[in-house]
Symmetry: C2
Subunit: 453 residues, 2 copies
């Protein structure tokens, strides 16, 4: 069954007189006397189909058209229809063209009223939108965000392929958590308890000892108990891991990834940005780097006291990023914080150097976060590649090396020095697509409150 | 820290005299008198590094070299090293070039003996290989398969982008199973029982009502109790779903996907095919289609009786594909079986036509399987797009429509006609990479017996 000859956006004034078949949704219908106007929508755009009674036809044909107009004017919005019509130039129409309707078939009639307005005139609350996501995604802005997600994933892969990276698919059902037990999602696996991967961390590290340069774009899970605009229980993690590299090398890869995504969205995604009325930040490389110590001192100068060696929370990052933006020390809002205190980083992070911060000596690490304003977009480090050091770090964090033996034992057989990072794809869309909530970059977000749709 | 100037495969005879730094694994070491030969391996290939005592240097330097040679000859295989050497033409060397070693640093010494031979001389059992997968993946053949997986995913995406498809990431934690309760993997989700997605089926269908042409390459899970070379508990599913399309349309997309993968592997993946000593089948389009009825009759002629309307098992598919290959009715071993009995297909499959098969009237459906020899690679159909038909089909299968209400209700609001398919990426690698077991196309396979590594 052929439902359509072409997409509505492919209809041009030059096709005048051609009879075409199109299919899509009834975006709106309006009838005035003997005329019925139907706005037909498919994913490419909309076109007006005008149904009128032709003058130079038999009475029988006239009757058929009158019934057609009556039928059209009663089709509920969002019904799925197939239309046959003749292309007509119309200077008043948005694209200079409309269809003169000859036939219509209702493929699936929609119930009225709809649980959510699709025309985008009514601005619904995010909870209503997500509860009605299959319909919400028909709104041009909702669709634009997901198309930018797809475009971003494409840009990331293309850049990484060009650097000799190989895409991998690591297991998502795992025997033990990466960062300890918190936030783990348990799975019943052939009668045993296992967990969903919080990240491909340990597996991507192991793969550096063979494939060397690996990346993955795949789901990851955290039982996030906090209901914020930036946390999902299931998110898409972009992961990169590189043999014979340190944190400086992978920061370069990361900033280039961010730049490629933004360039690609500005070029190939122009149409969707216009729908969203959003312009992503201009990113120039290198993205500025400040150390944890420098960040700590800026915060102190701003009157914010952080215990030396402690992590920064969102309030601190807001304050810090404001100060950096004021001084022009970000690139479009992006900046790296490097050389974090070792004790607040995961066990596989390589230590490096000491600094006196706020009068206290702090052990540092070869690590970084990439932030956009107050939001952490990515986190990475040089990793430890020696078994004894890994065991020490596990113990320091109250973790039992025996539980990680399945992983540790491979460090006996030639693990290379390596480094990498993980990035939340939905978080990257906050600056890229201009969304206020990461849920809008998910098809069907999963969080504390949402398991359906 | 800079570990290397270039990859070993990038060293050419034209670089003679240049001092370079390389890093990788000690593939083999051998010492003869005053010489030590080290084969250094990185992911690009191998190079011989020869350590010899230079003639025209001081006694002190000579002593340093003698100690260096002693040190090199004792480095255990698979240790990670960094080497500085001078490029020397050597017509006897495999690539016409070797390094004259000047310095070596052991970055991570490997324990001996290794749990698995990496040089590939000893052919280990698949269970041993998978138990030692981080090391097994250093074997060129193991790595070649995973690189072909990456290349195949790339070829699939590029083709689908060219057809206006958008990549989506659907939720993997779901409230109810697609095909009923069997094989579902339960998850504890914020105190509730949920399941891991067996496929993105219902979500990709819902997305056709907005994004229209969607695809996904992502993990999917089935509690497979059967231990065969073709089943995984976690596999990579390639999923395509298209609005305003029927099963014939999506079969065309599918056969083109298969052809693009094979073309891409034959071009860009030549190097890996040579490592594997495998040539993928030549695929010419269209891939032959036979109906279930025709297949049933061929089987009957071959002396294999199947109850009319019943599914075919592996023994039947072996017999059938042998008959088809004998008559030249496959394309490189690939063939479609179409128009399956409706009752053996999932509830969302659109019915279509009736046929008398073996004297029995059988209700058919707009469905297909793509097989390669006896192996099912992909399965697809036109889907039902009307709510009442879906409800009937659920009831016929003993499923309760109320459990699917979260999904069914969207069919009230303008679901378009649509069609699609799902394909097991690891299964496709059986013909593409010539592997005897789908586990070899996984980084770290998950099955009844395997949760680690």
């Amino acid at each position: 069954m052929k439902y359509r000859d072409l997409l509505v956006a492919e209809i041009t004034p030059e096709m005048e007189g051609r009879r075409v078949r199109v299919a899509g949704w009834v975006h709106a219908v309006r009838s005035i006397g003997k005329l019925a106007f139907l706005i037909l929508r498919d994913f490419s755009g909309t076109i007006q189909v005008t149904f009128r009674v032709p003058k130079d036809v038999s009475e029988e044909e006239k009757k058929r058209y009158k019934e057609l107009i009556k039928k059209v004017s009663k089709i509920p919005p969002e019904s799925v229809v197939m239309v046959v019509g003749v292309v007509r130039r119309d200077p008043r129409a948005p694209r200079g063209v409309e269809l003169s309707g000859e036939e219509i078939e209702v493929l699936n009639e929609a119930k009225s009223p709809l649980p959510l307005d699709v025309s985008g005139k009514v601005d619904a609350h995010i909870d209503t939108r997500l509860a009605n996501r299959p319909i919400d995604l028909r709104r041009p802005e909702s669709q634009a965000v997901l198309r930018l997600v797809s475009l971003s994933a494409k840009a990331i892969r293309e850049y990484l392929y060009s650097l000799n990276f190989v895409e991998v698919f690591t297991p998502k059902i795992i025997a033990s958590g990466t960062e300890g037990g918190a936030q783990l999602v348990p799975v019943f696996y052939f009668g045993k308890t296992a967990y969903l991967a919080q990240s491909p961390q340990l597996y991507k590290e192991l793969l550096t000892s063979s494939l060397e340069y690996v990346f993955e774009i795949a789901p990851a899970w955290r039982h996030e108990e906090s209901d914020t605009p930036y946390h999902l229980a299931e998110f898409i993690s972009v992961d990169v891991e590189m043999a014979f590299a340190d944190y400086n090398d992978v920061m370069k890869v990361l900033e280039n990834v961010v730049k490629r995504v933004i360039d690609s969205v500005k070029n190939e995604g122009r149409k969707w940005l216009e729908v969203l009325g959003h312009e992503p930040p201009e990113v120039n490389l290198p993205i500025p780097r400040i150390t944890y110590k420098e960040a700590w001192e800026i915060l102190k100068a701003e009157g914010v006291e952080v215990e030396p060696g402690e992590d920064f929370g969102t309030p601190e990052l807001r304050k810090l990023s404001e100060a950096l933006e004021r001084e022009g020390k970000t690139s479009g809002g992006f900046y790296f914080i490097t050389d974090w205190p070792a004790d607040v980083r995961p066990f596989y992070t390589k230590r490096g150097g000491k600094e006196v911060i706020g009068g206290k000596e702090v052990d540092l690490s070869e690590s970084f976060d990439l932030n956009w304003r107050h939001l952490e977009i990515s986190s990475g480090s040089t990793r430890i590649h020696r078994r004894n050091e890994l065991e020490e770090e596990l113990k320091k964090r109250g973790l039992n090396p025996a539980n990680f033996e399945w992983y540790l034992k491979w460090y006996d057989y030639g693990m290379p020095p390596h480094a990498g990072w993980g990035m939340g794809l939905q978080r990257l869309m906050v600056p890229v697509a201009g969304i206020p909530n990461v849920r809008l970059a998910s098809t069907f977000p999963r969080d504390m409150k949402r398991l359906v749709p």
